[in-house]
């Protein structure tokens, strides 16, 4: 765990949602890297995922266990994205997904950067967060 990131007080930020970036990822593109590239090209410093739907070659998730980050491998190809949520910030994005393998079995966890590549397509819609 990154103890430097722990804060003693809650942070509350008011603001509103702004522009939408409506996108398609072609095959072999990573979701987190693509989302950050989309934000960079539209001048967006923080965004939320509004829509994420498609398939992955393989799913590579993780979670924090007793002995550090634990990997969850979802074998593909044709791993379906059932839900995608989280925030996009340059180099510090955190996305969570619910995935299904080709047997319809469900997996959930945090996406690993650079390891969740689009198989056929991913429809990804981001919306910028504009703090007051």
């Amino acid at each position: 765990m990154n103890t430097a990131a722990i804060q003693s007080e809650a942070q509350v930020q008011s603001g509103r949602l702004g522009r939408l970036v409506v996108a398609r990822l072609k095959p072999n593109e990573d979701i987190i890297d693509s989302a950050e590239a989309l934000c960079a090209s539209h001048g967006i410093s923080l965004a939320v995922v509004r829509g994420g739907l498609g398939s992955l070659i393989d799913g590579e998730l993780q979670y924090l266990g007793r002995s550090g980050m634990q990997d969850i491998h979802v074998p593909g190809p044709g791993v379906e994205i059932l839900s995608l949520s989280g925030e996009i910030a340059p180099g510090a994005s955190s996305l969570q997904a619910v995935l299904a393998d080709a047997d319809g079995k469900i997996f959930a966890g945090r996406l690993q950067r650079g390891r969740n590549l689009s198989f056929i397509t991913v429809e990804l819609t981001l919306q910028e967060w504009l703090p007051d």
């Binding site: 693509s34 590239a37 498609g54 070659i57």
Partner: protein, 183 residues
Amino acid sequence: MNPHFEERNGVRVFIHGGQPQQPRLLDCEVPDCEELRVVLPLACNVAQGLLQALEGRRYRSAVGRILCGGAAHLSYHRMVTTTDQQRPYDYGQAVVLDGYITFVSGALTVGRDAHGAPLLHCHAGFIDRDGQQHGGHLVLDRLVVGSEPLVLRLCLFDQVAYQVKPDAETHFNLLHPVFQEAS
């Protein structure tokens, strides 16, 4: 080109039958969106109910989520291998479920078909009455709400559509973002 797997930086990639085209990310910007909460009642056909809820609204496409609810009947597909050399993976035969079905997640895109009519694309996860988990590509015109209302959240946008178009790389018809004024 014969479709095949390769490995790049320790991650498996898939080379499709068609030539890869640049750019690899297609995107359009929309200034804002309209938010909708849709609650579909028991026995409602979800495709019909959703399209009826959107009728008359000024939008080109929408994205959203299944927030909660249940189904009495549904049909979904999973990816299978095929004997087609150019398209070696495709959706298999429908898996049909009846009875008490509880949704646990779901994502939805409302795109446009070649004639401009709304086209629904949905992936969802759910649990059947025996406690078995399922997830895959859901056919909304064969989804009937049951047990409890189905609650959806949608983000509608104008000027840009997820338009279905043939994709030369994968040989699938896929949704692509394109600039398009609402009619």
